[in-house]
Subunit: 376 residues, 2 copies
């Protein structure tokens, strides 16, 4: 079974972002692959997707509040606007599987389940658009059709299909705005760790192909659910920003802790994720239980994430030479460093020869932003 | 290497508890095994133990606040009194490994490291006792000595030593107040799950041997650290109560969230753990992703824990016939049920033929207390 996801009502991004992106790119290189030229996803898509949290619950009689229904999506749309999600950048409300009826309509078209979506997808789309949001939904196809290519390459290609068929990401990029590389995420630290390990192991293949218009998708954010500790939620948010990953939350916006909400709406971290240069970050090194990841940003800035892989004991001290970061230019001749996660803290002015001392919680991550000093 | 843990300054428990225990026990059966008759641990030991959180950090120059030192234990002793831990029942302050100097004193005795414990164990013990707490510490022995038996069986017998040597718990019970059954815990959900799985798998061997004076020890509580989500912390607390496990926290009482503190100091849950009947609970059944555990309590009450093993999606509904609980007598002919975790809620009066509907978060647990209705 291969699947595609459609984005309804999505107009092109503001052109100022395009301009910025172009300006920054020339400092690096032309993108390695031609992007899908539909004006979408010049930065990674941000939104809400029902799957990890609500799965294929179609029993609205037993569980009216958590079945996949028009009501669920309308409630989420309301909250995306009223609770600051839209303002933070989360624009797309996405329906994954399980919205369809078992039968087609009289014209032979797929249709939404009439009990759970009494107004059909059309009414839901109108509602969502009236809120200034965009609706995304997924169609399933059991065989290739005339748009087969696009369908095959779109999304959610499970890993077990890959051993004999290394995907051609350059080709995928011509048809898709983002594509899943690995298996489905679940609400567990083991799952997040597996995705991060896979991404680091395959970074030589996947990092360079990402850029404005096309992104690797390590799957949904499960922040705000049940399975991750606070430090593990920080790690997911920080690393999804480093990886320029689509930020598609799958949680229940009706029941989310203030702490998880603040993390998901963190403006500085989102700014890294949405950086207009559009270069995906990578793991720079692994030293014992510490991993250092970095991502080049526009204006010659960098983001750096330091992960502690330990799952025992207290915070680990880690001392890092600044000259080792950002291809030796991030802090050359000097830089200003701000810690963004786990809490924001201005660390100040540093010279190229300096070292930075940090402490990282077990399973947690320290996310830093490194900027050129402002001339004054 | 085999190890033992000594408890200094520990007097016998109040005799009222003994009386209650005796009264309740006759309703069941005489304990299957003779207990160590030292007056200790008539209920599972409660306290703080440095190991999981502070490990063998002996570098007080680089990390003065988190090395294993007199200062660390004195700070914890202060907080145990000032922050309500002692009042909640946490009486023992326990030192695990790494307190000793590499050399013996002039009399050939083991001695504390003079840099990190300048007043020796004696001064620390006096300080701890002055706070109304008790000090526990561990001695290592590389070979059996004349008290060899006691040493061998005391604590931390790693699983890998067992395949050819199934421990004789009846014998262990004659020498120890509690004994480790499984490998060391770490600050991860996988570790807690492994311990719970092992305990359920071996319950026919380990449950009946536990009782006043001698307890199975599934290892430290890691609540308040970095690796467990809120629901996973609830699961550890609930199941350690069901298993009549020693409640030995390993965390940093100087830095602990109010939520974790409230969970660890939950009077109702501690009362289940410390129930004077002293019978260990067991897994009653596993149905798909749901496990039901139960524990008989004094006064014909029961504790019931319902675990959701799922690591994806939202809370799972579960409907349970009350007649199936507590050997068919817990709610016969009627009972009053209180949900203790994840939040306290009086669920009210139920008849034997009733069902109870609950919802359990992924990786979380609902802990219930079932009592006989008060006659009025």
């Amino acid at each position: 079974m291969v699947v595609t996801r459609s984005l309804m009502g999505a107009g092109p991004q503001p052109s100022c972002m395009l301009a910025l992106s172009f300006l920054a790119l020339v400092l690096w290189s032309a993108p390695g692959a031609r992007a899908l030229d539909n004006g979408l996803s010049l930065t990674p898509t941000m939104g809400w997707l029902h799957w990890e949290r609500f799965l294929c619950n179609v029993d609205c009689e037993a569980e009216p509040d958590s079945c996949v229904s028009e009501q669920l999506f309308m409630q989420m749309a309301d909250l995306m606007v009223s609770d600051g999600w839209k303002d933070a950048g989360y624009q797309y409300l996405c329906i994954d599987d399980c919205w369809m009826a078992h039968t087609r309509d009289v014209k032979g078209n797929l249709q939404a389940d009439p009990q759970r979506f009494p107004g059909g997808i059309r009414r839901l789309a109108n509602y969502v658009h009236s809120k200034g949001l965009k609706l995304g939904y997924k169609q399933m196809s059991l065989a290739l059709n005339r748009t087969g290519r696009s369908i095959v390459y779109s999304c959610e290609w499970p890993l077990y299909m890959l051993p004999f068929h290394q995907p051609n990401y350059t080709e995928i990029r011509q048809y898709c705005n983002h594509w899943r590389n690995f298996g489905d995420i679940s609400d567990s630290w083991q799952s997040v760790k597996n995705i991060l390990d896979w991404s680091a192991l395959h970074q030589d293949t996947i990092v360079d192909v990402a850029g404005p218009g096309g992104w690797n998708d390590p799957d949904m954010l499960v922040i705000g659910n049940f399975g991750l500790s606070w430090d593990q939620q920080v790690t997911q948010m920080a690393l999804w920003a480093i990886m320029a990953a689509p930020l598609l939350m799958s949680n229940d916006l009706r029941h989310i802790s203030p702490q998880a909400k603040a993390l998901l709406q963190d403006k500085d971290v989102i700014a890294i994720n949405q950086d207009p240069l559009g270069k995906q970050g990578y793991r720079l090194r692994k030293q014992g239980d510490i991993e250092v990841w970095e991502r080049p940003l526009a204006s010659l800035s960098w983001a750096v994430a330091i992960r502690n892989l330990k799952e025992i004991g207290g915070p680990s001290p880690y001392t890092m030479s600044l000259a080792s970061l950002g291809r030796a230019v991030a802090c050359n001749p000097a830089c200003v460093i701000t810690q963004l996660l786990p809490v924001k803290e201005e660390l100040g002015f540093f010279e190229w020869i300096s070292v930075l001392k940090t402490r990282i919680n077990p399973t947690g991550t320290v996310l830093l932003q490194i900027k050129k000093p402002t001339l004054s």
